[in-house]
């Protein structure tokens, strides 16, 4: 129990599912975090296409609801909020753009320049400009954390960097896209063709209207790039990844795999030799990588600890917010 509280003021830039999830978990966990870690988390600003709101005393629930409802859009820009409203941590949760990294890239640079720590779930800027951003953060004496960008709630970056510190990591392979895992699991279990299961996944919100990035393996590849750069110290880009998606997988193939004792999963694979590959692979049924539904999983191969496998929910606002929250708390403990 800490008696002396440190107030940590937070801005949330990008207020969609994940941004709302972050606000929600901060509200839910505020007291517990205050008593356990001695830090008082306070959301002082939110920026979104819907508008920008700020209150240095902490935003009220009513103000947040009004923003979500499209009322009370405020008269500031997001960049002004990042620059001019005093706070310690900028949480960047805008959608990923793999090509340009924007708008997240500008948000992150602006926040670091203004002396804020940055915690993000946005894959684009981290995959595209990892080295530049880390150098900028170091120059400004601030931290840039991005656990939520890979594997959602599943801890992988901090697991390797903190808990497995001292280990040499030789490879990481796993399922990093819940949509593909759901589709392949359903196809195999229910004997339903790809197109059918994809439609079903879209109807229940597991796949997006344009599922290309997921099913073609792009999303997995971007996450691999983040792992390659952050865990393996590479300077990799998306174009360095060999990418094959799941759209060609047939029911017959799943059946043949089953007969031979395997399942088919979309596996992202990065190793210390610089191999970066996303492809459907045969996974032995008794392998820990054989997880079902929308779950994500990663097996980290290390020189001292051997193989470590983590399994967790890869998507969902609260799950992603869990990773954001642990990054925020990690900044102060």
């Amino acid at each position: 129990m800490n008696t002396k509280q440190k107030t940590v003021r937070i801005s949330i830039i990008g207020f969609g599912y994940v941004g709302n999830g972050v606000a929600e978990v901060i509200r839910r966990k505020r007291e517990a975090i205050a008593s356990k870690y001695g830090i008082d988390l306070k959301v002082v600003g939110i920026a979104d296409l819907k508008g920008v709101i700020a209150d240095e005393q902490g935003l009220s629930e009513e103000a947040i609801q009004a923003l979500n409802a499209g009322k009370n859009p405020g008269d500031m820009t997001g960049l002004e909020l990042i620059r001019d409203v005093e706070h310690e941590v900028m949480v960047e949760t805008t959608p990923t753009n793999v090509e340009t990294g924007e708008p997240g890239l500008t948000h992150i640079i602006t926040a670091l320049d203004a002396g804020r720590h940055v915690v993000t779930s946005n894959k684009g800027p981290i995959a595209r400009d990892y080295r530049m951003l880390m150098e900028l953060a170091a120059k400004r004496g601030r931290e840039l954390k991005f656990e939520a960008s890979v594997g959602g709630a599943m801890p992988i970056i901090s697991l390797v960097q903190d808990n497995l510190a001292g280990n040499g990591v030789t490879s990481i392979k796993g399922i990093l896209n819940g949509t593909c895992n759901y589709i392949l699991t359903r196809m195999a279990d229910e004997n339903l063709p790809y197109e059918h299961v994809l439609k079903e996944a879209q109807e229940i919100g597991i796949a997006e209207t344009d599922p290309t990035k997921d099913v073609e393996g792009v999303d997995t590849a971007v996450k691999l790039v983040i792992l390659a750069n952050s865990v393996f110290g590479m300077n990799a880009a998306y174009k360095d990844v060999t990418v094959k998606g799941i759209t060609e997988i047939t029911l017959d193939a799943l059946k043949l795999a089953d007969d031979a004792g395997y399942v088919i999963k979309l596996i992202g694979d990065v190793d210390s030799d610089g191999r970066l590959e996303v492809a459907p692979r045969l996974v032995p049924k008794d392998d820990p990588l054989n997880v079902c539904g929308t779950l994500n999983v990663a097996t980290i191969k290390t020189d001292l600890a051997g193989e470590i496998t983590v399994i967790g929910k890869g998507a969902g606002p609260i799950e992603a917010a869990s990773a954001v929250l642990s990054d925020i708390v990690g900044l102060y403990s």
């Binding site: 060609e248 017959d252 193939a253 043949l256 007969d259 031979a260 395997y262 045969l282």
Partner: protein, 163 residues
């Protein structure tokens, strides 16, 4: 470990027992013996192909003992076709001549296609196959996979390899 061994015996009575006795002395378990009487070496010796299971630490003493007994040990290896993997193929497998693809692996001498299951849903639809490849070792198995992948890529066939 499972070991394959090629040895050569003098063509006089009693040699087979002479060669096999030390194996059981060192706790080895013979899995297979092939006696090639028809393939005498130029020096008139008879080749013998052995597969046995033996503790790794006993292997070199076994070899020494065999040599003491006048048995030529010409090759020792972990058993031939020790390693195998299942690979799936998706595409127009039959139209694009799967025979040729199999031959490209079988002709390496270090790897073979040992099993093939094919599923053909319809004339114009893509078929799927599971192929089991065995090879003398892990490296050779990966070489065989590379050969298969190269052949498949030319034919527009998707290869799903094991992790």
């Amino acid at each position: 470990m499972k070991v394959s061994m090629s040895i050569e015996l003098k063509d006089i009575p009693g040699q087979l027992v002479l060669a096999l006795q030390p194996i059981s002395d060192f706790g080895g378990n013979i899995r297979s013996v092939v006696h090639h009487r028809d393939k005498k070496t130029p020096s008139g010796r008879i080749p013998l192909q052995l597969v046995l299971e033996i503790e790794e630490r006993n292997l070199s003493v076994l070899v020494d003992r065999l040599k003491e007994r006048g048995v030529n040990v010409v090759r020792i290896g972990e058993e031939r076709l020790m390693d195998s993997m299942v690979v799936l193929l998706i595409g127009h497998i039959v139209h694009s001549d799967i025979r040729e693809t199999i031959d490209s692996i079988d002709s390496t001498g270090f790897a073979e296609v040992v099993e093939l299951s094919l599923s053909m849903p319809g004339v114009d639809l893509k078929s799927s196959a599971s192929v089991t490849i065995s090879a003398v070792g892990t490296e050779e198995l990966n070489d065989a996979l590379a050969i298969l992948e190269a052949a498949a890529e030319k034919k527009g066939i998707m290869v799903i390899a094991s992790i």
